[in-house]
Symmetry: C2
Subunit: 312 residues, 2 copies
């Protein structure tokens, strides 16, 4: 029986690494830079070196390690192959095989970073105790990860859970980063909330604290908490889009719980006040009991989930 | 190795039964009435009796049968327990256990009828060769079944794939059968297409063959094929709702293929002319290659899928 497992979360500038015991307690965590130059050719060797250094440092033998799980930003298929990780400079990369070889045949599992973070929240975060969950990350964009029966749902081409790009608005003139118009991400991300707020500030004569200083998802929800009427209208709009979007997702995959994370989720439970009534109004009755919780692992969700992948 | 498998599809008036070899060739199929009186207490004994009669008739021993798969109209959880099958008079019924006992301990698997039909289309129908598919049944209502990695996605409470009740229209004054307003089923089912057509006939002065005689999904698509301009407008509206709905579903579960069945699908490939452009316009780019096909098993999809459930 192995005692240890590594979780690795590859980001565009930093690789996060964690050493865990197989019960999910984190024993150590650290970071190395992501060297994206030359088509990202150094990224996996850097990770392998860092894992091996840690093993030497702690006197851990290869036989004591269950394996290394890796989350990466891009679509990862069921075989652990990542396709077009543009932020890393990679075309197609077989994470499982390449990193496994660098680690002398150690077991490696790979997954998309958002999906892996969802698994982390299931294991040790806001979704603990559940086996069917949808993790929603409200950050610069909107990401998602779907866990069914305790396993990541990758989808046919690794695009499972790409819920930021579900179409929710027919009348949008500004394109989403993905090229489409009217994606959920355009209204429910930090950037999206800022957009909604700026549009409303322009369209309305109403006084608001948002007219003084910076407009951001944070200042909007701070203003909501302070009772600012215009900010409340923005939050209601945000809730309309996200509540309806999550209701559709519930009707499709019927999760036990939604776990909401990302920078926007720092606003806290107030989010649910705007999401939940819209969700309840539009969701299929068989899914009305779906729970909502906040993510709790923050930026560590990725290393937790990556480690968890190896333990199946 | 067992040579045979039974597939059973319980409907509100008729139970369909099929005897298959384990390769999926149907050797025999027949029907018995569904006796829903007295809380449906006779349904499972009737099925058990009919299966045993067939085994006697053909000289099949229990050891030659891999098991009996059952599809039933209602949410069925991962343990084969059906909850509130109102059409059958059942409250909660453990299909697996109850029918298994009636059959002397034979293996029984249970699933929701729409999900089971999806599995049938994967095995021997329009989705043959795929492991990740969404089956869409456009009948009196809109049903769905989602297959991920060759397995039915039941969801947390058996409501996985209830795609007829995803919210697609904010401005609907007529309630759906489920109690909500603006469900996909209100526009994409046979009844929904008729509703769209009647509304358009009322709102427009345009001449149309639909003004003579019965308005139905069939007459609408017959008129589309004959080049009727108003019928084309109805088909475009249908395509807007269904194309956008399926694009959202694709962004969530990322299937390889949609398999479209049910009475409306008898209109044939013409449906795709109205669904596909809307799908392509609104779907996430990672899902643009999703295929569309027509279901091919018709009313037999249920017995095929039920039998297939037992072969895992």
């Amino acid at each position: 029986m192995a005692d240890y497992v590594f979780g690795v979360d590859i980001g565009g500038t930093t690789v996060k690494l964690g050493l865990f015991d197989t019960q999910g307690s984190v024993l150590d965590k650290w970071e190395i830079p992501t060297r994206t130059e030359n088509g990202g050719v150094s990224i996996l060797p850097d990770i392998a070196g860092s894992v091996q250094d840690k093993m030497r440092e702690r006197g851990i033998a290869a036989g004591d390690v269950a394996g290394v799980g890796v989350g990466a930003p891009g679509p990862v298929d069921g075989d652990g192959v990542i396709h077009k990780a543009v932020n890393l400079g990679w075309g197609e990369m077989n994470l499982k095989k390449e990193l496994g070889a660098l680690l002398g045949g150690m077991r490696v599992e790979g997954g998309n970073d958002a999906n892996v973070a969802a698994l982390g929240e299931m294991w040790k975060g806001g979704g603990q105790g559940y086996r069917n969950l949808v993790a929603v990350t409200l950050g610069t964009g909107v990401g998602g990860g779907i866990i069914i029966g305790g396993k990541i749902m990758t989808g046919a081409t690794g695009s499972g859970g790409e819920i930021g790009h579900i179409h929710v608005e027919d009348h949008e003139s500004e394109a989403c980063g993905c090229g489409n118009y009217g994606c959920l991400e355009e209204y429910a991300s930090a950037t999206g909330i800022t957009r909604l707020a700026n549009r409303r500030l322009q369209a309305s004569d109403k006084d608001s604290v948002l007219r003084q200083g910076e407009v951001s998802a944070k200042t909007v929800f701070d203003a909501v908490k302070a009772g600012d009427a215009l900010a409340v209208e923005v939050a209601e709009q945000f809730g309309e889009y996200l509540g309806k979007g999550l209701a559709v997702i519930a009707g499709v995959v019927n999760p036990e719980i939604f776990v909401i994370g990302g920078g926007v989720s720092r606003a806290g439970e107030v989010l649910f006040r705007y999401i939940r009534p819209v969700f309840d109004r539009t969701v299929f009755h068989g899914c009305k009991d779906t729970k909502f919780a906040l993510a709790t692992l923050g930026n560590d969700a990725g290393i937790y989930g990556a480690a968890r992948m190896v333990l199946d």
